[in-house]
């Protein structure tokens, strides 16, 4: 195996993590434990060392960022071939993208606010078609779009799912994904749920207390046929979801479940892709897996009020908590 750029990057990342960890430990062990002495003149060196702690932390974050394996590389390592990756790409485009074929233009787009999912789209497009999609901000809508032009890719997508590139109201199909093996179907569910999946929480009010119940769903305006296919696809996990019709568009609908066991099955299968975040609402910005775990943790627990439950749930977002610890200061009023 030759030395590649990824190998170098990964090892530099690990080295940075180890080095920053060692520096942090050394600084903490060598610092005078008496806080007052730190401010004294005789301990100036200790103060300098301590003031470098944020730099060590930044070094550690950079190291972790460089040593983390991207999702697509993880799939390639698991020996997912090009056809399997194409199945995932199709799932990604159907759940959150579009295919344009008009006036000699052949374009595949992916929309969303989630930067992590745009990376997955870019990596998949690169791995399958060797192109580099560009990500641009959609003005006025507060969202982002990744797109690339490729006649070959568009025609292939149109062949795999004829309704995808049609503008005559035909619905796309995921039969190509359903033909895949179990492991690829599970990954397809994860990818599609990370794009169009949602987590909600319903509250029931009884005398003097409030209980929170999680709800996991997929899509909002799925056609009957696509909802049926998605339901079949999710059985690979198994994640059983019921079909509900959209109150605004009666011919469209979505899949959802309130069954805790089904949600646990989904988490056991890997859950949402790492870094996938809730788009908007009360829990907007929270990592989806953390929110789902938090909701399952408080299922049926009695709270004083709805706000108390939401406070507890939102405080479970580990990333924001760590960030507040490192960037914020303990602030008493």
């Amino acid at each position: 195996m030759g030395i590649t750029w990824d190998w170098v990057r990964n090892n530099i990342g690990i080295a940075l993590v180890l080095l920053s960890g060692a520096l942090m430990s050394f600084t903490m062990l060598s610092a005078d434990p008496v806080g007052a002495a730190i401010c004294g003149e005789e301990c100036a060196r200790g103060t300098i060392a301590l003031s470098l702690m944020p730099a060590y932390f930044a070094m550690m974050v950079i190291g972790i960022g460089n040593s983390a394996t991207p999702y697509i590389k993880y799939l390639v390592k698991r020996e997912f071939n090009r056809r399997d990756l194409k199945r995932l790409f199709l799932g990604l485009v159907i759940s959150g993208g579009s295919v344009l074929r008009r006036e000699g233009k052949y374009c595949i787009r992916y929309y969303g606010k989630d930067g992590g999912m745009h990376s997955v789209f870019r990596d998949l497009a690169h791995q399958i078609y060797g192109t580099e999609p560009q990500t641009v901000k959609v003005n006025g809508r507060g969202t982002w779009m990744s797109q690339f032009y490729s006649k070959h890719a568009v025609l292939e997508m149109a062949e795999l799912s004829p309704g995808l590139a049609s503008r005559k109201g035909e619905t796309p199909t995921i039969s190509y994904i359903l033909d895949g093996g179990k492991s690829i179907r599970i990954e397809a569910v994860r990818v599609m749920m990370s794009t169009a999946g949602w987590i909600n929480c319903t509250f029931s009010y009884t005398s003097g207390s409030t209980k929170a119940y999680p709800r996991l769903g997929f899509g909002s305006v799925l056609s009957d046929s696509l909802a049926g296919e998605c339901s079949c696809l999710m059985m690979a996990i198994p994640l059983r979801m019921e079909s509900y019709s959209n109150s605004k568009y009666p011919s469209k609908g979505y899949l959802a479940t309130s069954d805790v066991e089904e949600m646990q099955n989904f988490l056991k299968a890997g859950g949402f892709l790492r870094g996938s975040r809730v788009k908007k609402g009360t829990f907007g910005g929270m990592e989806k897996n953390i929110l789902l775990q938090a909701l399952l943790g408080v299922h049926g627990t009695e709270f004083r009020s709805r706000e108390a439950a939401i406070d507890l749930l939102t405080s479970r977002d580990d990333a924001s908590l760590e960030l507040s610890i490192y960037l914020d200061r303990l602030r008493l009023g």
Binding site: M28, G35, A36, I38, L50, I325, R329, L330, L332, G333
Partner: protein, 126 residues
């Protein structure tokens, strides 16, 4: 075992209250050093947190600047308003096992001690 009794060394408390008076009308903040044994907390001294902020309405410090020191058992700060009950911000930011709040005019009578749950504890000076 939860803390039931708190004993504070008189000289240490005088130093803390003196600093509270000095920074008034801003809020003072200090770390509490001592030990907790079988439900009894003994406060030996108060430490100045490195790079702490004393401001009108709040005080704070960076937690990552605090050395790994198990003898730090809590945080003490002042309320220039004179009302020594913990605010919502205080309850959300309890650090360690003890929290002391000294209200204006910063004497023994205006001092209150709370545990990590925000429940008031009785204290004695030794």
């Amino acid at each position: 075992m939860p803390i039931e009794r708190v004993e504070i060394k008189r000289e240490a408390l005088e130093m803390f209250l003196g600093l509270c008076r000095q920074v008034h009308p801003k809020e003072n903040i200090m770390l509490i050093r001592g030990k907790v044994k079988s439900g009894r907390a003994i406060v030996d001294e108060f430490l100045i947190p490195p790079f702490s902020t004393y401001a009108h309405g709040f005080s704070g410090f960076s937690m990552h600047m605090i050395p790994f020191d198990l003898s730090i058992i809590g945080v003490a700060h002042s309320h220039p308003s004179g009302y020594n009950a913990p605010s919502i911000q205080d309850l959300n930011g309890i650090y360690g096992r003890l929290m002391m709040i000294a209200g204006f005019p910063y004497n023994e009578g205006s001092l209150a001690v709370y545990n990590s749950k925000g429940e008031e504890l009785a204290f004695t000076l030794v």
